[in-house]
């Protein structure tokens, strides 16, 4: 399809011919029709009207070309094109190839006037172009949620399959999406291909909502798309979370992806109003908002949604979840453990929502709090829906922002709670709505206890301040702003001029060169090395145990794995930027404590006994960009004996199921929606 003419006539700002009488800007968003949940609800009398939703995604313009990839760049104008067929945009490329069938399906062109005029194709299972449209729309909206919460561009994890160190080779501009990649009841994010692969499969014979044997497309499930794209985004932010060092790490990946998918339900106004009306505002009753992957769950022969944060079916009867202090310890399978975290976060949401809703209900019932029988007044439904959407947005923001407050390795749910509390206190110091209490309580009720914390009081849960005598980090500020002058000449860092560039490739290159500078300058300073243990939980001095991997210069090796901004607007309306700096270290671990001791002392030949496992340490520092002050230093100590022993125990235990035996502990595709041996 050639670039469509109507869109052309309205040219972008700066590219406008002088004679054009007035400026008409590109729209800020694009409206696209999707299934609010999945196609199964569209065949139900009750749910059909609200299941066709129109969502808005950012309007993409000036899309840049990828190295060796599809050219949307227009050399004549020096500008990128608008969204291309596929869709192929700045963040995503949807390629509809079905390798099992050996067939390609033509790409949808969302800029075609026919589609621009009617918010894209109408929802349809039989039209692959609608499938392409829906994966694009839901994925874009998820990306937008992250950018809004973190105040920075989403970057995909860099390529891991090439030797080149050049940023332009490592950079992955677009996540690839294959809507019909697999013939199985699964979908996954492939960290090697930087791609989402969605499967399709015939529904089981005992399927309660659809046609037995009818085809179920995972790429038409809002929840599965949001879940998988979140895996990809999280992998870009915290690639080290692929290192399974305790059960919570993979469980966190799953839970976090479910959380993002769940809270996006609240941004579908029709669906939200419908469910608020149905439950009379009680969102802890069975409802679609708190459940995930409805069609997938029933098509696989189950009674209801695949996963739910609020309840489940037992012998065909829906029962609300009753939290227990054993929940956390009892579940040892990764998705099951993850569901404990999802339930905790959702409960925190419900507590906050209920508190706010009670005021509205009080108003609507003359203060009695008891609503009359029958349907709620439409205005009340509207008000309750707005409240739910607002709280859901807050909670999702907090959950996303907390990622910057986690150590880069070995996360536990307890750590995540501390990150949530700290992140929220940073943006809302007063907490008038008691959000933080709600989080603390919901986690405590499920037996998620942060280690080394005496109480669930806010003061105890927030991360500690760094030691008073922490070394100066002004250099980091200077590096960040490009003031640092490594050669003593006027030239600043190679990419300093690009710091404000809107090209994500420059953002990426800037990050890499800054990481190098932090590594070669700041981390090599004596005061930093000497304070590394107390400040960062790392071992950077020569006295470090011999088991800590060494660099060529004989000092312990350390990796700078991210150096990115986090922008937030405070309660008072100030815009504050922190630099998020993450460092990791590796150390040889041995199952036998006696051997470990020998190895630490350097009495072991590492060529002969390279270690039974790799022990990871790491630290995330939040540095005030304006002053260079280190605000938090959140670490997983590389020298911790107790953590080392725990990890030895974890690696010594049998993996989950047989796959781990033959295929090793690392799954080929660790981010599958369902793990294959489940």
């Amino acid at each position: 399809m050639p670039p469509n003419t109507p869109a052309r006539r309205v040219t972008s700002k700066g590219n406008t011919p002088a004679k054009t009488p007035r400026h008409v800007r590109w729209p800020s968003s694009r409206r696209i029709r999707v299934f609010a949940f999945d196609p199964s609800l569209s065949t139900q009398f009750e749910h059909a009207p609200m299941n066709e939703a129109t969502i808005t995604v950012p309007w993409e313009q000036d899309i840049r070309p990828d190295k060796d990839s599809y050219k949307t760049w227009n050399p004549a104008s020096g500008k990128g094109e608008s969204l291309g067929p596929g869709p192929v945009g700045e963040y995503l490329e949807v390629i509809d190839y079905d390798p099992a069938s050996g067939l390609f399906y033509d790409p949808v062109n969302l800029n075609a006037p026919q589609l621009l005029a009617q918010d894209g194709l109408p929802p349809s299972e039989g039209n692959p172009q609608f499938h392409q449209q829906m994966v694009y729309a839901v994925a874009m909206r998820t990306i937008e949620a992250f950018e809004r919460a973190l105040g920075r561009k989403v970057l995909w994890a860099p390529r891991d399959d090439i030797k080149s160190k050049k940023p332009e080779d490592l950079f992955v501009r677009r996540l690839r999406i294959y809507p019909h990649a697999l013939r199985e009841a699964n979908a996954y994010y492939s960290p090697h291909k930087k791609a989402l692969l969605f499967g399709y499969f015939p529904a089981s014979e005992s399927n309660s909502t659809g046609t037995p044997g009818g085809i179920v497309f995972t790429c038409l499930s809002h929840d599965i798309i949001a879940h998988e794209v979140t895996h990809a985004i999280l992998d870009g932010i915290r690639p080290e979370f692929q290192e399974t060092t305790n059960l919570d790490v993979p469980a966190f990946h799953e839970a976090f992806s479910d959380i993002v998918a769940l809270f996006q339900h609240f941004a579908m106004p029709e669906a939200l109003r419908h469910q608020v009306k149905k439950t009379r505002g009680d969102l802890s009753a069975q409802n679609l908002l708190g459940e995930l992957a409805h069609q997938f769950g029933t098509a696989a022969g189950g009674h209801g949604a695949l996963r739910s944060a609020i309840g489940r079916y037992e012998d065909g009867i829906w029962k609300p979840n009753v939290p227990s202090q054993e929940d956390y310890a009892r579940h040892t399978e990764c998705h099951a453990r993850g569901s404990v975290l999802v339930a905790a976060v959702f409960e925190a949401f419900l507590t906050i929502y209920r508190d706010r809703a009670s005021r509205l209900i009080g108003l609507a019932s003359n203060g009695s709090g008891r609503l009359p029988e029958g349907n709620l007044h439409p205005a009340l439904v509207e008000a309750l829906s707005e409240t739910a959407a607002k709280v859901a947005g807050h909670v999702l923001n907090i959950c996303i922002r907390a990622l910057d407050y986690c150590a880069p390795v070995d996360i536990t749910f307890g750590d995540y709670l501390r990150a949530l509390i700290t992140a929220d206190r940073d943006s809302v110091p007063e907490d008038p709505r008691r959000y933080r209490l709600a989080f603390g309580e919901a986690f405590r009720r499920r037996g998620i206890f942060p280690t080394g914390v005496g109480s669930f009081a806010e003061d105890a849960l927030v991360w500690n301040d760094p030691p008073d005598d922490a070394p100066s980090a002004e250099l980091l500020r200077d590096i960040w702003y490009g003031w640092y002058d490594p050669d003593g000449t006027q030239s600043s860092t190679k990419y300093a001029g690009q710091i404000l560039s809107r090209d994500r490739m420059h953002t990426f290159a800037h990050m890499l060169s800054n990481q190098d500078l932090v590594h070669s300058k700041w981390l090599k300073r004596d005061d930093v090395r000497n304070a590394s243990d107390r400040l960062m939980g790392l071992a950077l001095s020569k006295q470090a145990p011999a088991t800590v991997y060494r660099a060529k210069d004989g000092y312990p090796d350390v990796e700078v794995c991210s150096f990115r901004p986090a922008r937030r607007i405070t309660q008072r309306g100030d815009s504050v930027t922190d630099i998020v700096l993450s460092l990791t270290q590796r150390r040889r671990g041995y199952f036998d404590p006696a051997v470990q001791e020998q190895a630490d002392a350097g009495h072991i030949d590492f060529h002969k006994h390279p270690g039974d496992f790799e022990f990871l340490g790491g630290c995330t520092m939040l540095i005030e960009a304006a002053t260079g002050r280190i605000r938090y230093s959140i670490s997983k100590n590389i020298l911790s004996v107790s953590r080392l022993r725990r990890q030895a125990e974890f690696f010594g235990a049998p993996g989950d199921g047989l796959r781990s035996m033959y295929f090793g502990r690392h799954l080929d595709e660790p981010f599958a929606f369902l793990h294959s041996h489940d």
């Binding site: 390798p99 069938s101 067939l103 390609f104 692969l197 295929f663 294959s676």
Partner: protein, 509 residues
């Protein structure tokens, strides 16, 4: 098998003349050969004044790099030591690491005179005469054929999933081209007992009476597994205990693979597919036919050509690293290969050899997995002349020699229903394993360290591995709770040579 039970020592000498390899009086001696990751045991059982010779399995997962003909030497040693006679050749299950010698060392096996291999003992699952065995066998063949075809179809044979499926398939021999080399090896072994117009193969079912072996009075042979039960046979996962049906592949995948094979060969899929495949293929594509675009349709297209590229000769295509040609089939074949592998392990013939005079037991479990171990406890054995039936727990409690299942992996030794019941203070464990070979195949958890630790505790250091020279030359006690006397006894009873490790179990107290 009706045979007149001979009752005098003179008969057993005539029936079971001793070769060079002689067990202690009334006892049993076992040789574990050291070919690597694989099983081959020669067992000498006292039969009055004579010796009853058994061989359990003959295989290795891959030829040892240093000595590719190692198994030929093993078979030669068996022939020389037994005087060229095997009274019972036991094949536990259809896996390459238990049978490869019947292929690679076939020349040596041919040296055995016709009739000198008197009987073959196999699990009931190997006979075509049993309806359940037949059904499971057909499912297995179908699944194997699928995995094998899938592997040949991989466009990138070096991909991570692909090479792992391949290494796993090495067990049941789907890895190499040509149909079923493992099955061929099994059939050869089964055929070797054919003489006197009879097959002389015993297909064994568990429980009931111990095996009747004429002329062997001082020793009883109990069959513990595989269970004659579909569900237990298919149960292999220690945690979830789920039951899998191996051949549940579906026509959709079959036809898709067929079409993919034809496309790869540059043929017209409509001409090449059978009627059944064609129907299944068309039905399995989820969209209307007017939406279909083949590679030929889109290869000149400005969208798919640069973004995806053609299948062949595409390593240089800049987007090659993001292609997904093998993912659908790799996932399906991988899951199937895993299930198949478990299932076959579970068909392992499990034997317990009891020395009547002492009550001590030698336990050979093949590669039995959870379902097999659990099933032992679901029945009992009646010994003629004894009033109380024998239970699996009794046999486990008296076990003094345990052949560790599946080369020391985590799911072939049952903890509560197995190892923890082996309470005899004299327990010795032997593991036919080779860490290096396992690592070459990327099975980094075999042998499984925590299991090794558990065995070390349970046997108080008396665990023998095929890939270690132990206890030869070891002067220090291997475990603090092992007495000096026990250590000395163990060392006296164990002989280590480069070819084998031998352990003797005495017949008298």
């Amino acid at each position: 098998m009706a045979r007149k039970p001979p009752s005098t020592a003179a008969t057993s000498v005539a029936q079971y003349p001793a070769g060079r390899f002689v067990p202690p009086p009334g006892g049993v001696s076992v040789r574990m050969y050291r070919q690597g990751f694989g099983d081959c045991f020669l067992i000498a059982v006292s039969a009055g004044q004579g010796v009853f010779y058994m061989v359990i399995d003959c295989g290795v997962i891959k030829k040892p790099a240093k000595d590719p003909d190692f198994l030929s030497k093993v078979v030669r040693n068996i022939r020389e030591e037994t005087g060229g006679r095997i009274d019972a050749l036991v094949v536990t299950h259809e896996h390459w690491d238990h049978l490869s010698g019947f292929s690679s060392a076939k020349d040596e096996w041919e040296q055995f005179e016709p009739g000198s291999i008197r009987e073959v003992w196999a699990a009931w699952t190997e006979t075509a005469d049993d309806p359940l065995a037949k059904e499971l066998g057909q499912q297995r063949r179908k699944a194997m054929a699928f995995v094998q075809r899938a592997m040949q179809h991989f466009s990138d044979p070096d991909g991570a999933t692909q090479s792992r499926v391949r290494s796993l398939s090495a067990f049941f021999g789907a890895a190499e081209a040509g149909e079923g080399r493992t099955l061929k090896a099994l059939n050869y072994a089964l055929s070797r007992a054919k003489h006197g117009g009879k097959d002389n193969v015993r297909y064994l079912k568990p429980h009931g009476e111990p095996l009747k072996v004429a002329g062997v009075e001082g020793v009883r042979f109990y069959v513990l597994g595989p269970p004659y039960d579909r569900n237990l046979l298919l149960k292999s996962n220690p945690k979830k205990g789920e039951v899998y049906h191996v051949a549940n592949i579906g026509m959709s995948l079959h036809s898709a693979l067929r079409a993919a094979e034809l496309r790869a060969a540059g043929e017209d899929i409509w001409k090449g597919m059978s009627r059944e495949d064609t129907d299944a293929y068309v039905a399995s594509v989820p969209f209307d036919r007017d939406l279909w675009r083949t590679w030929d349709d889109v290869k000149g297209d400005p969208f798919f050509a640069p973004l995806y590229g053609p299948r062949h000769g595409t390593k240089s295509h800049p987007q090659h690293w993001r292609r997904i040609d093998d993912d659908w089939i790799g996932g399906a074949a991988g899951r199937l290969a895993l299930k198949l592998d478990d299932h076959i392990n579970n068909t392992s013939l499990v034997l317990a050899i009891e020395i009547v005079a002492t009550g001590k037991v030698l336990l050979f479990v093949g590669d039995a997995q959870v379902g097999n171990w659990e099933s032992w406890h679901k029945g009992e054995w009646t010994v003629p002349g004894k009033t109380t039936p024998v239970k699996a727990t009794d046999l486990l409690q008296n076990t003094v020699f345990y052949k560790v299942g599946h080369h020391g992996s985590h799911n072939a030794t049952h903890k509560p229903l197995g190892l923890e019941k082996m309470t005899d203070p004299g327990l010795v464990a032997v593991i036919p394993t080779d860490r290096q070979m396992a690592a070459d195949k990327r099975w980094n958890d075999i042998p499984f360290e925590p299991l090794l630790a558990a065995l070390h505790e349970r046997t108080r250091g008396r665990t023998i591995r095929a890939d270690r020279d132990f206890p030869a030359g070891t002067t220090k006690k291997p475990h603090k709770n092992l007495s000096a006397a026990e250590w000395k006894t163990f060392k006296t009873r164990t002989t280590v040579t480069p070819l084998y490790v031998q352990h003797d179990v005495p017949g008298l107290k």
